[in-house]
Every structure is written in structure tokens, then in C-alpha cells.
Symmetry: C2
Subunit: 231 residues, 2 copies
DNA sequence: CTCATAAATGAGGGTAATCTCAATTTCCCA
DNA sequence: TGGGAAATTGAGATTACCCTCATTTATGAG
């Protein structure tokens, strides 16, 4: 029998956290990640998960704080202990999603130096994972035009690869905010088209092919790269 | 002295309509057009103008019926005599805007048969006039992703010219809903970029150039056509 | 196990929006 | 010009949301 009080307490806490997670309608990824942290961090994570769920379906304006806390299984007033208002939570949610997706993409693209390949794979991976975790996809889409910070975040990543391509002599464009935003919005539009059913799983390749053409890559090369198997 | 009662009555009505218009904060174009119609049509037009003003600044969700009627100088309850709800009014507003812009574009493009030229001029004109009447621009942008009918309307026009280009052998793409939606969303994004200050009056030409590249036009030709003076 | 602290609760006050309808005003024909 | 029809008015009933705070519950170090 364990008598070390510290261990006992830790064990009780862990069990409570586990029960919390099991009691969720569908335990989101952020709650799982926070399950070993303190209570405050855990309810914060549950709020983020619930917000992701609600924002994905309703968008920012239509979502109410009441509904998010209900979805999280948390009292209404608790919300204000963690976030100032809906907008603050929205920003956190949006950045969490982008951070998750970017992490996955960077892992998949490590060691690839060809800009044409990077743009193609980046776009394809992005659309694939955003569509795969559909709440990520819808939340990203819904926030893309309402959160300037989100567009800037995306632009930052895209710009590096586009500038790389110009240096490598494969892209024939002048790189500025406008260009980067057009390329970024094309990714967003293609993601929407797939979520909407306008296009199937080929969305990523089709978007990548159009992007490469737009950047000045020869259409034959663009086609070849964009549709090549991703290993 | 005019004694014909019909004429006298008409004159009084016309004067009332004129006073209505002058009393508006800024008499919108739809109210002006309806000034010779019956009273019902006139207040309906005032509602559309006011909605255009409010939607452009607040978007669909944030706008309230109260604010629209206040802006129109009309009692709250009158709204429901003309529209079922905010969404119905929004659809009417969106289609009115598109109809106006399309009318202007078609006038400017009559007699042009080259698909490359048509796509270029259509995009440039669209962005130019939408930005010129800034409420049209913002309202179009705000509704683009929320009203599927609006995207379909735009797609319909674009598709004709894209298919024309394929027939003429100048575009090397497969034309389907996905492609048309990507081209359309690029116009919308470029319009936003200009309204947002990311880019100046060259937005139309830059968007057109990217579009033509994307459709398979040789980059040199794309540049030449997209930046040529519009007469 | 005890207890001070941290966290969560949820009822309730305040605000704002939607929609209705009986009363009023305007319109326009005879 | 009189008067019935058409249109408008705006107060109020209803609903939904935001946010606060006094109270309750959970936590974990000693």
C-alpha cells in the first residue's frame, strides 16, 4: 500500500484528468495534450477544443460563448477566467491550428531544397491535413479572412519558399505582399472547394499545379511535380 | 395653372419622392433609380441602399435590422413588409451589386472576341468598379464566401470566357467548377487586397496577369495584355 | 488529514436584437 | 376633394447573449 502522500495525490489528480477527458463528447487533441498539466491548463484546453468544434461549424460571429462552454462541459462563468472575450479565444484557436499543421508540414518537408517541390508539397500537405481533421479545415477557412494575423502567419511561411524559388531562378515573379497573399488565398480557396464537395481528394494537386503555373513554372513541369506521388 | 388632377397628383408624388431622396444621409443609387416608382418600391430601394451601406461596413452577421432601418430613415417594423429576414435582403443586395457591375463590364467589353483580352479586361474592370464604388466592393467581398448563389453567378460569367479561351487554343486547362472557382476567388482576393491597402490601383492588372498565367497563357503575353492601357 | 489558496459554479442584472400588431398616416382614384 | 386601400409607424413581448460576483468545490503542500 502506497503511503507516500505526494504520489497518492498525483495519482488522484491524474485519474481526475482522465475522467475529465473520457467525459467529453469527443476529447479533442488539445485536451489530451494538456491532460498531464494543472487543472487550469486542462479546462483551458477543453475550452479550446470546444471552440474549435463550434467555430468550425458556426464561424466566429454565430458562435456564442454559452454554446462553447456548454460544448466543453464547463460553467458559463468559467470562460472569463481564461479568456477576455470570444475574439481572444478565436485568436488562440486559430494559431493553435496553424501551429499544428505547420509542425506536420515541416516534418514532412525537412531536407527538401527545391522551391518548386517545396511549394507543391507544402500546399498539398496543408490541404490534406486540414481536410483530414475537418474542424481544423473549417476553422482555418472561417478565420482566414477575418484574422489578419492568421494571413500574415501563413504568408510568412509561403514567402520563404517563394523567395527561394526566385533565387533558384524557377519562379518569375516579383515577390511582395500582394503576390504572397494571392498564393495564400488560393490555398484557402482550394481547401474550401474540397470541404464543399466541389472537388475531391485531388484538390491539393490541382491547387499546387495552378500555383506553380502562376509563379511562372512551365506548365508541363508544374503538372509533373504537382501530381507526383508523395512517397 | 394646371387643373388636370392626374398631373397635379403625379407632381405632388414626385416632389415627395424627391424630398425623400434629399433627406437621405447619402442618397444611394437604388433609391435614385426608384424615385419615379410607387411608394412601396421607393422604401424598398431605400432599404437596399441602407443595407448596402451597413453590410459593407459590418458584414452580414454584425449588421442588425434595426441599424439598417435607422440608416434608411424608416421605422423598424416596415422592414418586414418588404423582406422576410436579413438573409433575404442580403441576397437581394448582393445580386443587385453584381448586376450593376456586370452591366458596366458588359458595356465595356462588347465586341471583344479574344478570350485572353476578355478575361483580362473583365477582371480589371470588375476590380476597378468594385473598388470605385467602395460599398459595392466591400459588400461583394463580404458575401462572396457566405452566399453560394453569388459565387455561382460570378462563375457563370467567368466560365464562358474561359471556355472560349480553350476553344481558341489559348488556355491550357480543364474547365470545371473547381477551376472556375479558383479564378473567381482570385478576383475576390485581389479586390480585397486593394481595399485593404496591400496593393494600389495596379491590383486589377496584377490579378489579371496572374490569372492568365494560371490559365496557361505565356507569361510575356500575359504581362503585355494585363498591363495594356484600357483605352 | 488539514487548510489556505486556486478554480469553478450558475443565478441574475443589463443590453440588444427580432418580430408582431393595433393605431396612424399616406396615397390616389372617382 | 372624400374616402377606402395601401403603406408605415413604433411600442412592447419575447428571446438570446454577455458578463459579474457571491458562493461552492477542488487542489496539493505541510
Amino acid at each position: 500500500m502506497i503511503t507516500n502522500s505526494g504520489l497518492v495525490v498525483l495519482s488522484v489528480t491524474a485519474k481526475r484528468a482522465a475522467v475529465e477527458i473520457l467525459s467529453l463528447p469527443q476529447s479533442g487533441s488539445f485536451a489530451v495534450k494538456a491532460s498531464h498539466l494543472g487543472k487550469s491548463a486542462r479546462t483551458r484546453a477543453r475550452l479550446i477544443d470546444a471552440a474549435l468544434f463550434v467555430f468550425a461549424r458556426q464561424g466566429l460571429d454565430a458562435a456564442s460563448i454559452n454554446e462553447i462552454t456548454r460544448e466543453a462541459g464547463i460553467a458559463n462563468g468559467t470562460f472569463y477566467l481564461h479568456f477576455k472575450d470570444k475574439e481572444e479565444l478565436a485568436a488562440v484557436v486559430a494559431f493553435s491550428v496553424v501551429a499544428e499543421i505547420v509542425t506536420e508540414i515541416e516534418a514532412a518537408m525537412a531536407g527538401i531544397d527545391d522551391a518548386v517541390e517545396r511549394i507543391s508539397r507544402g500546399t498539398r500537405h496543408f490541404i490534406h491535413t486540414a481536410f483530414g481533421r475537418i474542424d481544423w479545415g473549417w476553422t482555418f477557412f472561417r478565420f482566414f479572412w477575418t484574422l489578419p494575423q492568421l494571413r500574415r502567419e501563413v504568408a510568412q511561411y509561403l514567402r520563404q519558399d517563394i523567395e527561394l524559388g526566385v533565387v533558384q531562378g524557377v519562379f518569375t515573379v516579383t515577390v511582395d505582399d500582394f503576390l504572397v497573399e494571392m498564393v495564400g488565398s488560393l490555398v484557402n480557396s482550394a481547401l474550401f472547394a474540397q470541404m464543399n464537395g466541389t472537388v475531391g481528394s485531388e484538390a491539393g494537386s490541382r491547387a499546387a499545379e495552378l500555383q506553380l503555373r502562376l509563379l511562372g513554372v512551365d506548365p508541363d513541369r508544374a503538372r509533373e511535380v504537382a501530381w507526383r506521388s508523395l512517397d
